[in-house]
Symmetry: C2
Subunit: 194 residues, 2 copies
């Protein structure tokens, strides 16, 4: 064999983590078993335990591999930046496997402090992205200085989370636009009408 792109150890790790992600997305954290991960990944259970000390750690590392960092745009238009911001965060959070894992992770996080910290960090980071966009608008004079940014982020994020997790419906771009426009109008931001 010549020049493998990944060492065997790396290949094994990846296979195990992939299978774990798929399984958690399918049956949730609680019903995910190491035996099933072994069976699906084609990696022996003993080998899994050579790479990960416990199921808890395995799940957390698997979740880690799904998390991506959205980018923040600066178009000069608050409306466009907010739409872009929440569109990106929705894709990163609620599409793909991570989206299917979300509810189970949130539930498990109630009883697993480590997982709780991970999700809280995820949430806080997303809020910081939106906060940054809004603070930039305040600095630019597009928003009044006394606006409650914390509240604004909740007003913008909430309807999207609710649509995905409670109503189990897709978060469309139309919804994001409607939410952004209504909330901006609610705090008195004049908008260019087509």
């Amino acid at each position: 064999m010549i020049a493998p792109l990944l060492s065997r150890a790396e290949r094994v790790r990846e296979q195990v983590l992939d299978a774990t992600v798929a399984l958690v997305a399918e049956v949730g954290v609680e019903r995910t078993s190491i035996d099933e991960v072994a069976s699906r990944s084609g990696v022996a259970k003993s080998t899994i335990y050579r790479h990960f000390p416990s199921k808890q750690v395995l799940v957390i590392e698997a979740v880690h591999t799904c998390m991506s960092i959205p980018t923040v745009t600066d178009s000069g238009s608050l409306r466009d930046d907010l739409i872009s911001c929440f569109s990106g965060m929705t894709r990163a959070t609620y599409e793909g496997k991570l989206g299917s894992m979300q509810l189970s992770l949130m539930d498990a996080a109630q009883r697993d402090p480590e997982l709780g910290r991970l999700l809280r960090a995820q949430t806080d980071q997303k809020r910081r992205f939106a906060t940054a966009v809004l603070e930039r608008a305040v600095a630019a004079g597009d928003l009044p200085a006394d606006v409650d940014i914390e509240l604004l982020v909740t007003l913008l994020s909430g309807p999207l989370v609710y649509t995905k997790l409670v109503r189990l419906q897709p978060v469309t771009n139309e919804l994001i636009v409607a939410v952004v426009d209504t909330v901006l109008a609610g705090i008195g931001v004049r908008q260019s009408v087509d």
Copy 2:
């Protein structure tokens, strides 16, 4: 013994359901076991199975006992009615044991169609309450006839759900007021300013 308010069978049922609710609220649906329910309720496991055919049914009936129906006020003020409506629904949904069960139930509902139907009915009912308030406002001319009521309900419910389930923070009355006021302002409803 004289004139028991409840027959023994009713007393047993109640004890079992109460213990189930408490246990689900503490450890979630998945980790709730019949043995533990028996131990906590003081009812023998065999007796539990005489009343409920399976754990799934027991959990669903236990959840049922927690669900209360909020009332709808008609004060003539759209703002006040919305605040009252969402305040009541928040109390009914996110306070007490049902609040602690919520995330675990939502997760379990992904893989238990029966539980899924129950939660969906719960969600739909709450949306209908808010929809009724909004439709009344349209009829009274307080809202434009072409307003998207579905979207409005999502805009109002979302931030509250998000605050409770994602941020794990209490849904205060101040938050509800701020959400209602901002959303109403967003669709161009003039408000009396104090």
